[in-house]
Subunit: 407 residues, 2 copies
C-alpha cells in the first residue's frame, strides 16, 4: 500500500485525541483497561461466532441505542459461556465503572478476552477498576494497551494525523490486542479506536468501519480459530468535520484503513509463537472475492506456514493451497514470486517453473526466506482485482503456548 | 461404529484376493509399488484440487474408459505442476510397466506422491519398476504398502472377509498412505483396494466407493491442506456376486465402509508428528451436513489440536470451534463429553457447565486426556443425525517435519 502523503504517523495511541483519557492496570493474568471521553457517537464490529460472550451482546445493544462515554475491557477471562451469571457479572462491572466515572451505565461499552467458561473473578476485577487511574498521555494509552494483552508479547498501538483536502487536520488513534484465535473474521481481537473526526451519519460511520475491518483485521490469519469475544469499537468525538460538500474526505477514509492495516500487521507479527511476518498478495484476479479467498487459503495453510518457519521457498505448497481454495483459475498461467523489502524473485512465471532445485532463483529465494518479513506474490493473470492477507509462521512455540495455556 | 458380526478381520492386505499380486521396493526417498490382477472393473475417487497432478489426470481417463490389470504408484515425487514433461514421464512409466507385465498400456492406472514441481527422476523410477518382484503373499502386500510411504511412519493395510446373507464369503483388502496434507476431501492420500466381489454395474460401484470415501477418508483431518495427488482406487475382480435379487448385499457395503474407516483411522493416528488419535462425534444434529461441518471444524481447530497434545480438557475451545463452524445450533442447549475406551465424563450438559476448574469432572477429564485415543462427543439436542471425524493432535514434531521436509 502506497502511503498517502497527507497521513502522518504521530505518537500517543488513543490519547492523540486530547479529550480522551485512558488507563490500564494488571494483577497477574487479569487486566483492566478503561477509556473515557465526552459523550460520543460510537460504532462497532463484532464476532460472527454463534457463541457470543456476554460483554459482546451487551455492547452491541448499547452501541445501537446510545452514544457512549467510556469503554471498559478486562483480560484473563472471556466471560463467555457463563450463562446468566455472566450477564450479571457484566452488569456489575458496568455499574462499578458507572460509579467510578459518574456516568450513566447506558453510556458504557464493555469487552472481555481470556479463558472461556470460567466464572469472572469479580473481586479482583472490581478492585482493579477502582485502582485504574485515567489520564490523557502517551503512557496512559500504552498502559491501556498493555492491560488488554493475553498471550500478546507486545502492546499494540498506532496513531496518525491526517491533513484533509480543506487543509484541516484530524487525528485517529488505536490500541488493540490479539495474537491467537486470529482468523478470517476477526478472532480474539479487541480494538478500540478514537478519532476527533465528525461524521454526522451513524450508519455511514458504521459502514466505514465495517469496510475497513474487512480489509485489515479480517485479513489476518494466525490459526483460523475465530473467537467468541471480538470487538472493534470506533469512537468519534466529533470535533473536526471530515465531510466536504456532504462527501467524506477520502484522506480520512484512507487514514482509517491505513491505521487498521498497521494494527492488523502488528497482530500478525505477534501471532502466537511467530518468528516471521508473512504477507500474501494476489494480483490479477477476476473478482475481489477470488483474490481474498486465495490469499486467506495460502496464508492459513499449515504447510505454507511451516515452510516459512523452516525458511523453505516451497512454492509447491503455495500452488497446492491456491488449488484447494475452491477458486476457479487457470493452472496453466499463474505466477508466484517471493520478496522481502529489498529483493523479489520469480519462482513460477506464467506457469513456467523458474525455481527448480539447483537454480539461481531458488537459491536467491532461500536467502529471502531467511528474512523476518516475507511477501508471497501470486498473479492469476485473469483480471485487475487484488487482495492482501497478513499472517505468520507456524512454530514450535505456537504449539508450546497453546498446549500449555488454557484459553 | 458397532461391528457387523458378518465381518471378520483377516491378514493379507490387498493379497487376500488370491489372483492379486503385489510388490514394492525403495531406493532412498523414492519408492515403487505395483499391483497386478486379471483384467478387472475398477473405479476411483480423486482429488478435487484445481491443480491436479499428471498421474491423476491420466488415471481418471483410464478408469473411465477401460478395465485395468495393474496399478503403479511412486513415492518421493508427486509429478505435479511439471507441465508436458510430467505427462511424458507419466506415459513413460506406464510403458515400462506395460513391457514388464506384458499388458496393454491402457490397462494401467498410475499414482504419485511426494514433492511438487520437481522433475521425475526417471532413471531411478524405471530401474525400480524393473526390480520390483510381484507375488501373492502377506509380505508382498506389506512391501507394496511400504513403498508408497512418504512421511508415514508405518505402512497401512487392512483386510476383511465378509459373510453375505446367502452364506457366501467375499473379501476386501486395502493399502494406503497419507499422514500430512490430510484434510477434508482426501488430501495426500493414496489408497488401493481389492475385492473379489462382483458388482455388475460400474456406476453403482463408483457411487458405492464415493459414499464410503465420504464417510471415511474425507472425514480425516490432519492439517487441512488438500493435496494435488489423491487417488482411491477400488478394483473388483468379480468372482463373488454380492447382489441378491438385484439388490446389493448390505454386509458388503458395511464391510467396505468398515475397512475404509479403519484405514482412515490409521492415517489420522499416523498424522505427521501425532502423539494422539482424536475422534470427534456429533450427535443430535438436525441435518447430516451440520453434523459433518461441526466435527470437521472441531477436529481441525489448531486450538483443540494443541489442547489435545497438552492433555488439557479445554472444552471452551471446543465450544468456540462449534460456534464458528457456521452451523445454526442452540448455544443454550449443547452437551460436551470426553472419553477414552474405558470412561466417559460430561463437561457440559444441556449447556450447564460441569467441568469448571476444581470440579471432579474436570479432574477426571484431565486423566482421560492422558490416554492416546481420545473421543470428543458433542450433542446438539436438535435431531437424530450424527457424524464422526478422525484427527490427531498438533505437536512440535508436526512443525519439525514440515519445516524441514520439502513436500
Amino acid at each position: 500500500m502506497k502511503m498517502n502523503e497527507n497521513i502522518k504517523i504521530i505518537n500517543g495511541g488513543i490519547c492523540v485525541i486530547h479529550d480522551v483519557k485512558a488507563g490500564g492496570i494488571r494483577e497477574g493474568k487479569h487486566g483492566i483497561s478503561i477509556i473515557s471521553f465526552p459523550k460520543s457517537m460510537a460504532v462497532g464490529v463484532f464476532t460472527t461466532n454463534r457463541v457470543m460472550a456476554a460483554p459482546v451482546k451487551h455492547t452491541k445493544s448499547i452501541l445501537e441505542n446510545n452514544n457512549i462515554s467510556a469503554i471498559v475491557a478486562n483480560s484473563g477471562n472471556a466471560n463467555c459461556f457463563t450463562g446468566s451469571q455472566g450477564e450479571e457479572d457484566c452488569k456489575n462491572i458496568v455499574e462499578t465503572v458507572s460509579n467510578k466515572l459518574k456516568i450513566d451505565k447506558n453510556e458504557i461499552a464493555i469487552a472481555s478476552t481470556g479463558v472461556i467458561g470460567r466464572k469472572m473473578p469479580m473481586n479482583i476485577i472490581n478492585k482493579l477498576i477502582e485502582d485504574v487511574k485515567l489520564k490523557n498521555s502517551d503512557k496512559a494509552s500504552n498502559n491501556s494497551a498493555k492491560a488488554i494483552m493475553t498471550t500478546d508479547t507486545v502492546p499494540k498501538e498506532y496513531s496518525i494525523e491526517i491533513t484533509l483536502n480543506n487543509g484541516e487536520k484530524v487525528r485517529i488513534g488505536g490500541i488493540c490486542k490479539g495474537s491467537g484465535m486470529i482468523a478470517p473474521n476477526m478472532a480474539t481481537l479487541l480494538c478500540f479506536i478514537t478519532t476527533n473526526a465528525k461524521i454526522g451519519d451513524k450508519r455511514l460511520l458504521k459502514q466505514l468501519l465495517k469496510d475497513v475491518v474487512d480489509k485489515s483485521f479480517n485479513m489476518v490469519v494466525v490459526d483460523g480459530d475465530e473467537s467468541t469475544n471480538d470487538e472493534v469499537i470506533l469512537v468519534s468525538t466529533g470535533k473536526v468535520d471530515v465531510s466536504d460538500d456532504e462527501a467524506l474526505d477520502p484522506n480520512f477514509q484512507e487514514g482509517l484503513e491505513y491505521l487498521c492495516i498497521q494494527l492488523a500487521k502488528m497482530m500478525a507479527s505477534d501471532g502466537e509463537g511467530a518468528t516471521k511476518f508473512l504477507e500474501v498478495v494476489v494480483n490479477g484476479a477476476k473478482r475481489y472475492d477470488d483474490a481474498k479467498t486465495i490469499v486467506k487459503s495460502v496464508a492459513s495453510s499449515y504447510l505454507v506456514k511451516t515452510a516459512v518457519f523452516g525458511g523453505d521457498p516451497n512454492w509447491g505448497r503455495i500452488v497446492t493451497a491456491i488449488g484447494y481454495s475452491g477458486v476457479d483459475f487457470n493452472p496453466n498461467n499463474i505466477s508466484i514470486s517471493i520478496s522481502n523489502d529489498e529483493q523479489k524473485v520469480d519462482l513460477v512465471r506464467n506457469s513456467e517453473i523458474l525455481g527448480f532445485e539447483g537454480t539461481d532463483n531458488l537459491k536467491q529465494a532461500e536467502k529471502i526466506m531467511k528474512h523476518q518479513d516475507i511477501k508471497i506474490f501470486i498473479d492469476l493473470h485473469l483480471g485487475n482485482e487484488t487482495a492482501n492477507a497478513f499472517g505468520c509462521d507456524l512454530t514450535y512455540d505456537y504449539v508450546r503456548i497453546n498446549a500449555e495455556y488454557t484459553t
